[in-house]
């Protein structure tokens, strides 16, 4: 930190702050305790005049650190945005006056709260510098699309339309993917009454005619290395020849395969040629090219049964537990192949729940009914051959009886299984500096954490389902289509369009050294002090995004472009050598230390709350807007992710006399809402070890609590703080007050 630090602290009196707290006193605190160089009060800081006052100090007084003591950092961000200075906020409005009662007896503690937040904000600025960004950024406006099915082709066309060059890698000898073997598709346009042309041929010709798109057929990826903006990919053909190309971003559209129906002998698959899967029926229809479909023994089909949820939505061993989403509509579509050709052919769709997602789903269902397709709510137990036809035995769930039907053809709705490559948690990783090709892998990444995209459950690649669905756990690599979750063609097209856009963003962000979602635009990235590193590898292992590799001496190698700036590495490092320019062990640690800790007999405990800035902190802000009160003894510090919480903060807090520590992060686990996927989970694991620290200090375990908080927990989040205050009342003050 070579440059001189000059801190300006600006205290707003607007929004009732001036009436509720003594701002002159706050100004004194900023100057005397926190050592701000310039301190000013203003009756209305976010108006043009207030903003100008700050800008003037930046321009004329050389202020390069700005502490805005006003409203929440989430409010008035447009007004309080100044270039080339580090900015912090003391949350006097949402964090103090709105959550405290306006009474005479509350006045003293309210003032103390405000004073602490001013001290903290000014102190924080001292430990912040302006992110300089990544100097080695590269601009590679090429996109690699892995997989030449509908998703892949759509992504390629969309990216090419936006002006980017695209290479498609397809392992088979032709474009088209699963859709190429279909006769028609579920309708995508109103009135959603009839099956439509698949559109695959049109996509293929569009790709062939587009000189921005190159296609590598019969090819696979034998190595992917680098990072967004500078991926280097080895493309190997069947014959073994390899080319290496550079790409800015990657879209993985590796699709799905049909669940293996031979695992379901009870449905007669493999025993009778007239029991087929949906994909096989579509292939039959495609081959027939409009002619009436025949049974395998060449007879006209007079009746067909479609059995839904075959080996899916089932908790039986080896079955798929999930719903593949498209199969009900696919069966309706296929029943129409028969009905449209000859309304006298009987088609019976046997389902337990008919699900037709999408805007046109319900209309398509009705259209099927209008065409005379029978829909039977029932559970099939067995399909057997009998007297030259097939007998489908099932329980009619409406009529509550076991019954059966004789048909010429049975179609099984088996589900989609993702082609997501290898599960990196189940295969061994290469040692640093070594690399072997895994033939089952799709991307063959040389990342330390493994060769393919991490999976969440059921073998689909993990992507942030709720907030940013394309964003996988490998920055710059976007999963789209059924590799991400089961879906039909229309959804895949929409999905691929989105993924192409995200990939373009990644290319552009990487070139500017900016982070992708959710801290999009952030220029800071982790710096590490090599001399201090003990090569413990925690950062390498814990980074949710595989951003960190290892060199041959086992030192971490940070790949800035892959980093999402969550700070999980910083939280992990036991020797605290990882930091960001504007977020570090010190920038938080020094804040919690500057808080004034009243002595034991004052009956004023102090609670430290570390709240995730994505969900928990906004929840507290919203609680404030709703005037939900909470304890005046808490000091809340927002953190980038609970994963960035370093144990030292907890130890420091307890050592310096805090009576309780509350951590609030997002939901973890399979249905995670954590914006950094693993951050909250990792923090929970780390904090389970905090008991040792507490024990060594002879403190009660209740003094530290970790919570999963959603952005909607407007009552609960303050409740958690109040609970801690009550606990302290019960167990007494900490003895560590000096």
């Amino acid at each position: 930190m070579a440059e001189d630090i000059k801190i300006g602290a600006y205290i707003c009196q607007g929004c009732g702050i001036g009436e509720r707290v003594d701002t002159a006193q706050l100004a004194q605190v900023a100057q005397r305790d926190a050592k701000a160089n310039i301190v000013k009060e203003h009756p209305f800081l976010c108006n043009a005049e207030g903003v100008k006052m700050i800008q003037d100090d930046i321009d004329n007084e050389g202020v390069n650190r700005v502490a805005i003591c006003a409203c929440s950092r989430r409010a008035k961000t447009d007004a309080f945005s100044f270039d080339n200075v580090a900015i912090t906020r003391a949350n006097l409005r949402e964090g103090v006056i709105w959550i405290r009662p306006d009474t005479d007896e509350a006045r003293e503690t309210t003032q103390e709260m405000a004073e602490d937040y001013v001290r903290m904000a000014v102190t924080e600025t001292k430990y912040m510098s302006l992110p300089t960004g990544d100097e080695e950024t590269k601009y590679t406006p090429n996109l690699l699309v892995v997989g030449g099915g509908v998703s892949g082709m759509t992504a390629a066309i969309e990216a090419a339309k936006a002006g980017y060059s695209v290479a498609i890698i397809e392992k088979t000898g032709a474009l088209g993917g699963a859709a190429a073997n279909s006769w028609k598709r579920i309708p995508q346009r109103g009135p959603y009454a009839d099956p439509e042309d698949t559109g695959v041929d049109a996509l293929i010709s569009e790709i062939e005619a587009n000189d921005k798109i190159t296609v590598h057929l019969n090819s696979t990826i034998t190595k992917t290395s680098g990072a967004p903006g500078r991926f280097s990919v080895d493309i190997t053909t069947e014959s073994g020849s390899t080319v290496t190309e550079n790409f800015g971003a990657i879209v993985q559209a590796s699709g799905y395969k049909e669940y293996d129906a031979s695992q379901l002998p009870e449905f007669g698959y493999g025993k009778s040629a007239n029991v087929v899967t949906q994909a096989e029926l579509d292939a039959m229809a495609k081959e027939a090219n409009g002619a009436p479909l025949k049974t395998k023994d060449g007879k006209d089909v007079t009746s067909v049964a479609f059995i839904q949820c075959v080996g899916q939505r089932s908790d039986k061993e080896g079955h798929l537990p999930y719903c593949s989403g498209h199969c009900c509509s696919t069966s309706i579509k296929q029943a129409m192949y028969f009905k449209d050709a000859n309304p006298d052919i009987d088609t019976n769709v046997i389902y337990t729940d008919l699900r037709t997602p999408g805007a046109g789903g319900e209309d398509f269902y009705r259209s099927g009914q209008r065409k005379g397709i029978t829909f039977t709510k029932g559970e099939v137990s067995e399909v057997v051959e009998s007297g030259g036809s097939l007998e489908v035995k099932f329980r009619d769930l409406i009529l509550a009886e076991d019954t059966s039907e004789k048909v010429d053809l049975v179609v099984l709705a088996t589900g989609q299984v993702a082609n997501a490559g290898v599960n990196i948690e189940e295969v061994d990783q290469d040692e640093p500096g070594q690399f072997t090709v895994n033939v089952d892998s799709i991307l063959n990444m040389d990342y330390r954490q493994g060769k393919d995209l991490p999976q969440l459950k059921y073998g689909f690649s993990d992507s942030h389902f709720i907030c940013f669905p394309y964003e996988t756990r490998r920055t710059g690599i976007y999963a789209t289509g059924p590799v991400r979750r089961p879906m039909d063609m229309q959804q895949a097209i929409e999905d691929a369009t989105g993924a192409a856009m995200k990939a373009i963003q990644a290319i552009e962000n990487a070139a500017k050294g900016r982070a992708a979602h959710p801290r999009s635009g952030d220029l800071s990235f982790p710096h590490f002090r090599r001399e201090g590193c003990t090569q413990c590898k925690r950062c390498t292992v814990e980074c949710p995004f595989g951003a960190i590799d290892e060199d041959e001496q086992r030192f971490p190698v940070f790949n800035e472009e892959r980093c999402r700036r969550c700070g999980t590495c910083m939280g992990a490092c036991p020797v605290r050598v990882i930091s960001f320019e504007n977020y570090s062990v010190d920038s938080v640690g020094q804040q919690l230390k500057i808080v004034d800790i009243p002595d034991e007999f004052d009956e004023k405990p102090r609670i430290l709350a570390l709240a995730c800035e994505n969900d928990a902190y906004p929840a507290l802000d919203m609680a404030a807007m709703n005037k939900v009160e909470y304890s005046a003894f808490v000091r809340v510090i927002p953190v980038r992710c609970l994963g960035s919480v370093n144990l030292i903060w907890i130890t420091d807090a307890l050592n310096s006399g805090y009576d309780g520590v509350v951590l609030m992060g997002c939901q973890k686990g399979e249905n995670y809402q954590c914006h950094f996927v693993k951050g909250s989970e990792i923090a929970h694991i780390r904090m389970s070890k905090v008991d040792d620290t507490l024990q060594s200090l002879s403190l009660e375990p209740e003094r530290v609590s970790v919570h999963e908080v959603a952005i909607t927990d407007i009552e609960r989040a303050p409740g958690i703080i109040n609970e801690m205050a009550e606990t302290i009342e019960k167990i007494g003050m900490s003895p560590f007050k000096f």
Binding site: D344, D346, R366, Q369, T374, K377, L399, T403, E405
Partner: protein, 208 residues
């Protein structure tokens, strides 16, 4: 019509559904039911039916011709219209119930002793005679619907009511002899004849 009653109906084939579509009033709606069960749950008589509407519709699809047409269920419908008001698929359920009952009656498959059926037939016979319902005759015939002794008992019990109505000029004993009717009873006959002819043709066409 006898051949039809013995028609072989294959299970879960469209045969019976097609018959219902062709011959039952509003029958072409049956295939649009999505089996949500809202109608059955909404029917005030739901618990008393052997087969509430949703189930009847499934039985039609399952090809249970015999069971549906000889069922007493659709005769239970009181035309409260709860189901129609609530059916998310907007099926005219009430009308289908009456349509099914009527069709079953025509085919002679409806249960003989079903009281609603008996009442309906009496009502109809009474009505078509003069184009107006003769309430006295209808009432008396209903009293004696279940036998002579039963009839006397019911008539005695209802006597004070009848006297009251006569006093209030709501009922005339003279109605028993002839009674009043529409002006053009020939015309009415012709209309009814034509209607029956159309219906017969429809059914004949379906059977051919």
């Amino acid at each position: 019509m006898s051949n039809m009653n013995q028609a072989m109906v294959e299970k879960y084939r469209n045969d019976f559904l097609k018959e219902v579509k062709a011959n039952v009033e509003e029958g072409d709606w049956v295939q649009m039911c999505m089996q949500c069960g809202v109608c059955s749950g909404s029917c005030p008589f739901g618990p008393y039916w052997d087969h509430p509407p949703q189930e009847l519709f499934m039985m039609i699809r399952a090809g249970k011709r015999e069971e549906v047409l000889s069922s007493n269920s659709m005769w239970m419908c009181t035309s409260c219209y709860n189901c129609i008001a609530r059916c998310p698929r907007e099926l005219p359920i009430t009308h289908i119930m009456h349509g099914l009952a009527h069709y079953a009656d025509r085919l002679g498959l409806a249960p003989k002793e079903q009281p609603t059926r008996k009442f309906a037939n009496r009502f109809w016979d009474n009505l078509v005679k003069k184009g107006r319902v003769n309430e006295l005759k209808l009432g008396v015939s209903l009293y004696f619907m279940n036998g002579f002794i039963e009839g006397i008992k019911t008539a005695m019990a209802a006597a004070p009511l009848g006297m009251g109505m006569m006093k209030a000029k709501r009922l005339s004993p003279m109605e028993y002899f002839g009674g009043h009717g529409v002006k053009d009873s020939k015309g009415l006959d012709a209309i009814l004849k034509k209607a029956r002819q159309i219906e017969d043709e429809k059914i004949a066409k379906y059977n051919s």
